[in-house]
Symmetry: C2
Subunit: 319 residues, 2 copies
């Protein structure tokens, strides 16, 4: 018998959101809780209570094909969260969350990293529907990625493939949160944009609207607001960021020649300010045989639902 529902769970640094999703991608029940600063065990216990409430509410665990979890540093092969940077479950702690939730709910559970879940969401419900080869890039506090090749996610030999936020785009460049220098994430994340803004202002962007703000607390939202008012420095900041992304994308294209690169997350909302420069740099730096072939798309899933939908889509793949 075909089971009508899946559960999607997105484990974030601040909140965990979850929902029951039907085969058409409609979220029919949803919930939310604080992500934990305590232990993994207490987190799992609280989450299980919430999940079981929703499960009972729609008719019990027999109605579920599975549970899918998207989580930072999630490992698909192991079903674990390994030392996630924004979740303080102890340095080096490997949390077998898929097994823990499966035991607590009686439903088969799979887990992957949040950007991989987003990629599956786009492939199942979004702009990448029907595509066999595409790359998902999530532009948020960090830069994440999910790579789809031949219709399946690239997990690599260890389950951690697809860390495109941590390709090095500038040798000896900015220090990244990962401890190395010059990662894409250090330039193209929301905090990367804020750092670029600080540099631009300190290097003479005094006529900018941004110069009126506290230079140490300028956010990518401030840059967007200024750009919308026609501020040239703000527009130049997005141009620089977009060019760095587009150059990196040209290299990604040489790797897997995707039909599309799909952007999702806060920064992608900078719209024309960033999409134009990305496209320009992609075109300029792509190898001849790839030029003009790979589409640059923005996710059209509503941001509030995308994380749950993405995680839930993973659970349809459970046989």
């Amino acid at each position: 018998m075909v089971k009508p529902y899946v559960m999607g769970i997105d484990v974030g640094g601040t909140n965990t959101v979850f929902g029951v999703v039907d085969a058409r991608g409609k979220i029919i029940e949803a919930g939310k809780m604080k992500s934990p600063s305590e232990t993994a065990e207490s987190y799992c216990a609280t989450l299980s209570v919430e999940l079981n409430k929703l499960i009972e509410h729609v008719g019990g665990k027999e109605k579920f094909n599975g549970i899918g979890i998207g989580a930072p540093n999630g490992n698909y092969y192991q079903g674990t969260i390994e030392d996630a940077p924004n979740i303080s479950w102890g340095k080096g702690r490997v949390v077998p969350l898929a097994n823990m939730l499966s035991a607590a709910t009686g439903i088969s559970t799979v887990l992957t990293n949040d950007a991989n879940a987003a990629a599956i969401g786009e492939m199942t419900y979004g702009v990448a529907k029907g595509m066999k080869n595409f790359i998902m890039i999530t532009l948020g506090t960090g830069v994440g990625s999910g790579i789809v090749v031949n219709g399946t996610l690239v997990y690599g030999h260890d389950g951690f493939a697809g860390e495109l936020g941590h390709v090095i785009v500038k040798k000896d460049g900015r220090v990244c949160g990962c401890g190395r220098k010059g990662c894409l994430e250090a330039y193209a994340s929301a905090t990367g944009v804020a750092r670029t803004a600080k540099e631009f202002i300190e290097n003479g962007g005094t006529k900018s609207l941004l110069a009126q703000l506290d230079v140490n607390n300028v956010t990518s939202k401030d840059v967007y607001d200024a750009a919308m008012k026609g501020d040239k420095v703000a527009i130049a900041i997005f141009k620089e960021t977009g060019n760095i992304l587009g150059e990196a994308f040209a290299n990604f294209i040489a790797f897997s020649s995707p039909e599309a690169i799909v952007l999702f997350g806060g920064l992608s909302k900078a719209g024309k300010f960033i999409m134009g420069p990305i496209q320009e740099a992609m075109d300029e730096y792509s190898l001849g045989i790839f030029k003009g072939k790979t589409k640059l798309l923005m996710s059209d899933l509503p941001e509030s639902d995308a994380a749950v939908l993405g995680a839930s889509a993973l659970a349809w793949e459970i046989k």
Copy 2:
């Protein structure tokens, strides 16, 4: 009935080599001809005569599971060679070589680019046997690559994926044969090493054995010979080349997290002079979760056989 043989064909810029291969990877008949400067049609006619001789000699076309071709700019999906840089069949010419040879021999024929064929060869007969995720890098006149994910080659949406010789490793760096600047190939190919040697000598490497040679005609072989004699400049040239490769590999690892990177071709024979520096840079530049996981291996297939074996291995995949 299981068919006992496949034919492997390697189309090179100078020579075309081919052979009948059995299921154990033994080349039981082999042949060779000049690659053409005339038309694709006359090339195909000459090659077909040679192939049909071998085919008859081992018992006829019924004995063959298929023919596999490795060729520069080979497109797997189309079975075509598209505007290959070293084969003068006319600018922009797309040659449907797989169909042409299939028609001439009566045997199903598949074609891919030469580095992809090398990857399949390693997976079938070489050091990558049993691996589901690895990257093949061929270091020759150019730098080629074949990427295996989940046990299958990455062709991308258009059949051209895996052009890792043309990721840009230095922005506004050396002009590459592809017309862009800063490609890996411009540094890590045999000609790239020769260019580095010229730079090193002109920048004061006058005490080097290499300074006694014509600086415009130093080859990577000269650099190797000097390194073997303990020449410090020659050793530094390989170190620089190896570091550039290792940094690039760290980025490749962030993409597909392969179990191994397998090197093949002339430059990989520089052995310890280049493998050490590659390994060092890979270790230094890899993201924490990947450090120390991906093996760096050298192909152990005899160079004279590898191209034919690789192309032939492709033909076992024909159902």
